[in-house]
Symmetry: none
DNA sequence: GATGCAGTTCTCCTATAGCGAAACGGAGGG
DNA sequence: CCCTCCGTTTCGCTATAGGAGAACTGCATC
């Protein structure tokens, strides 16, 4: 259940960060000063439309105002304990991120031998996205019919709600890191193939 | 700006997925049938409290209902364009993640010369967390008085709401990748009388 | 065609979100 | 001390969110 107090604090904090007065935020967001004050003090529950305008005025996505995360301790995985999976195509994937309840982040390292195509990955749920950074070699990234060639040091971001594939067409091995934030449709489907 | 039509469709879709009737969802969410119908048809704009109850009834986080699917395409940063910052201590940090509105993820690569201590980083807001994977060399990770030695291939996860530091005590260079999910600070403000 | 039933929409009515403007309170400045 | 400025809170008033139940719709079965 949403805590209006937390919501109010969050709005106030974001406004303070930007050095805005109630009046200035009111102008930016087309929400009255009095309403803003009420929301910050949790005196009233704004409608989604009003809260959306407030989020716009603050320059943050609406979701930012209503999500609250969890926290944990330090978890280490030694190189020897890493979860390495060798695939039929000859490529190898290492899942570097420990499983943390409530956090849908995965940090992966993938090694593609020369000429190897790791194939296509399905479109994940809406809202999923991935960061890629190439460590060495050449990576051809395919995102929804769009092909991109990345070399060592290049990084890329894409929304992973479309089909996407990875291939190494070059004569040298390719390795790259992926940070994936995967939204899961309810029912707890399997993790990345 | 939030589109009530989209919101309504989303609620209806989620309800259909679960095979719930308006009445059943009303019972689960403590929101009247008529209000649910109005929201689905975008006839009324619910308050955040009501929408939060609806989200609970559907078993999805509130943010799920208000996040608009990223319509972004691929964003690439070439190695030559990377945002590299050299620090006084002799270490170098490369910010690999393009700035994506609404996503508070950072993907970084850091290079520490032999014997270099990058110093301490402050405690971030509660809920922040980081993944670290060592590419080469030896990294001493300090998290809230706890010291850990990581070598190539090791990865670690920790909640970043405490002071944490990175150092390379070895005779060889050390490089590592960090995926950071940083939450906005909040709650530090003074309470009004 | 009538009857029953499950799901959805419409019809009031009350509580409150939301706005404009006035009132309040603190930090300088005279 | 008194005034002025600036930001915040409070005060009425209006529009609308929200609840309870009636009315409608579609689809079976008799």
């Amino acid at each position: 259940m949403l805590d209006l107090g937390v919501l109010g604090e969050r709005v106030q904090e974001l406004r303070a960060e930007r050095g805005l007065t109630l009046q200035e935020l009111a102008d930016r967001s087309s929400v009255s000063v009095s309403m803003l004050s009420s929301v910050e003090r949790a005196a009233k529950a704004p409608t989604v439309t009003v809260l959306s305008r407030i989020a716009d005025g603050l320059g943050v996505p609406l979701a930012k105002l209503v999500t609250e995360p969890a926290q944990d301790r330090v978890i280490v995985r030694r190189a020897a304990d890493q979860d390495v999976s060798d695939h039929p195509g000859g490529w190898r994937r290492t899942i570097l991120s420990p499983v943390v309840p409530g956090v849908n982040v995965e940090l992966l390292r993938t090694e593609l031998p020369p000429g190897c195509d790791a194939g296509d990955f399905p479109a994940y749920a809406s809202g999923s996205h991935e960061y890629v950074v190439v460590q060495e070699g050449t990576l051809v990234l395919t995102v929804d019919e769009q092909r991109l060639t990345l070399t060592a040091g290049d990084s890329a971001y894409f929304a992973a709600d479309v089909v996407h594939g990875f291939a190494n067409p070059g004569p040298e091995p390719c390795s790259y890191y992926i940070t994936a934030l995967i939204m899961r449709p309810r029912g707890g489907g399997p993790t990345r193939p």
